[in-house]
Symmetry: C2
């Protein structure tokens, strides 16, 4: 993958094939993790069934591309990159239970198909698999770097779980007093660390060793991650169901405190605010499609969707400006061009 | 703790004070793990609230006593022993969700108090805390032994989750075709590895280093663990509620495939068998107290409770005979006398 290329972004048409290429690198490791293990029907079949419907392997791609950009062979990153993908999917299984989500990747969520008990346990199994996959680092990278990567995993695990607790707590309390900075703190913790910052940090650590100051990636990953999350929240409201793979408007049904909702709550009348609060305070099953459509219409009317769209674009642009802090000293090449294209795509992405 | 003492078991009166002593050794580490972290209300308060109601710290005690028996200072074991206690409690939080258990330690279970979403996430947080606590091993024990202990954790995690999948799968499928060996395999995986075998193995590894063949503890821990689990299942049916801390008959309400139930299913008439199967196949909420009492009465009538009691005692005696394989070359002393007393207490325990 490390070829000389112009100091520019990959063309958009090569983005997906490059994701596919990176995904193919981690897939054998993911498949091997569960192969031959028992019990199949109530554990490993659930895990495999979830993993084969996996997405574009964003986190492994970010990790491997970063390592390559800093001159490292992809092979050295495989256990770490595969573990990131396994952990992401473990999070999804538990998140869907916690959020009461009905569909994922155009199928019933795991807990809806198999029940909460088996799904909670399968998610635990996937978290345990993550640790098992990481064990292979010892042989490839030696004990010092392997431990350092374990510390990165430790940090991303707790940050993600704390961020998830923030979001779930807001829903649990029907908290309607949030502002943008609450939202951004939650997204940093829940999404940015594990999906953006740590994949880059880990890739760079594998390439450059434990002496590297990994904080150079923190602002870049935070800004890009927040942009992504806000765009994703927008797609949840306005996207095409087949492409998105989840229920449209599902975030409103789940009571999620998105940037759009936070914006809206400060624009509506006191009476409307009370009505929204009441709808959000209901059990999910008791929220009607009409109520969800009404909130969505208010969001359009008060410019909340446009506001979030603009905020996402601003954050993506800011991430673009941080690119050189993070990757400036990496030689130009295909991997760096891929990373640049990810940022460019995010700036151009329509939420 | 390492004093010269006769080659006998500690007197029963000193068993609980010794557990208390070992628990006091790990408590500061457990308290420190969550101190100062946020968010409190929806994550760390839940974890702390669960941990302060903790039991007798059986697993840490087994780990520390084994290390001491092999001549090691307790201090070297603290992160490992504390991690075992944290992980055990993480399992309990998810198990209670998976089993639909209503009470634990004479209080509502965590998910009943705070809802499934926050409880699933808190259990994930406790699993992540386990990893964080283990990090401290690196400084105390160096990278080789720390990695070896991480491998022990990796093994115990997956075994426990696979065992849990077996048990949940039987309930999910309303499987009524099980025999004793299915039950024992499930208990080995779900209980014995993490609660008995690995605590001993880890303590011995810390004392003797990575060259020790830890398999010497496997039979001892399996037999003692199976004895404990069968006795615990018996207490669930016949114990005093205050002492036991959970609903009496709760295992029947949860559809658990205990040794008593498996024994019973082979003794009853075809008609009764059909009725039991029907009761077990219902949603938990739809099983009536009368139905549970009827099954319990059948168990007494057909000797299923006595059968399990005898099986538990036989297994405990067999564990006693394995004691010397596991601990024979450990010098006599207070720690070894404690371990011997744990076995003696199990043999004498009334289920």
């Amino acid at each position: 993958m490390i070829e000389v290329a112009p100091a520019s972004a990959l063309p958009a048409s090569e983005l997906q094939p490059t994701f596919d290429h990176y995904r193919a690198l981690v897939e054998p490791t993911l498949a091997r993790a569960t192969r031959g293990r028992e019990p199949r029907r109530h554990l490993y079949d659930l895990i495999d069934g979830h993993m084969v419907r996996s997405g574009k392997a964003f986190r492994p791609s970010l990790c491997i591309a970063t390592a390559e950009a800093f001159g490292c062979l992809a092979e050295r990153t495989i256990p770490t990159a595969a573990a990131l993908e396994m952990l992401h999917n473990a999070f999804l299984v538990h998140d869907d239970i916690e959020d009461g989500s009905e569909t994922r990747r155009n199928r019933a969520t795991l807990y809806r198909e198999h029940g909460i008990p088996l799904a909670v346990n399968a998610g635990d199994g996937m978290q345990a698999m993550t640790l098992r996959i990481l064990k292979a680092n010892l042989e490839i990278l030696g004990p010092d770097l392997s431990w350092r990567l374990m510390e990165e995993f430790d940090h991303l695990l707790l940050e993600s779980i704390e961020g998830q607790a923030m979001e779930l707590g807001w829903i649990h309390d029907n908290n309607c007093e949030l502002d943008e900075s609450d939202y951004l703190q939650m997204v940093l913790k829940k999404t940015c660390w594990y999906s953006f910052i740590h994949p880059c940090r880990m890739g760079a650590l594998i390439a450059r060793g434990t002496s590297l100051d990994v904080r150079r990636f923190d602002r870049f990953g935070y800004l890009l991650g927040a942009a992504f999350q806000i765009q994703d929240d927008g797609l949840n409201l306005t996207g095409a169901r087949e492409k998105y793979g989840k229920e449209i408007g599902g975030d409103i049904a789940e009571g999620k405190r998105t940037l759009m909702l936070i914006h809206l709550m400060r624009r509506v009348t006191v009476a409307e605010r009370g009505q929204i609060r009441e709808i959000l305070g209901k059990d999910r099953q008791r929220r009607t499609p009409d109520e969800i459509d009404w909130i969505l219409a208010l969001m359009r009317q008060h410019g909340s969707v446009d506001f979030a769209r603009a905020a996402g674009r601003d954050l993506a642009r800011a991430a673009g400006r941080e690119f050189d802090t993070a990757f400036g000293d990496a030689p130009d090449g295909r991997a760096k061009a891929f990373l640049r294209a990810v940022v460019a795509h995010t700036i151009a992405r329509e939420a």
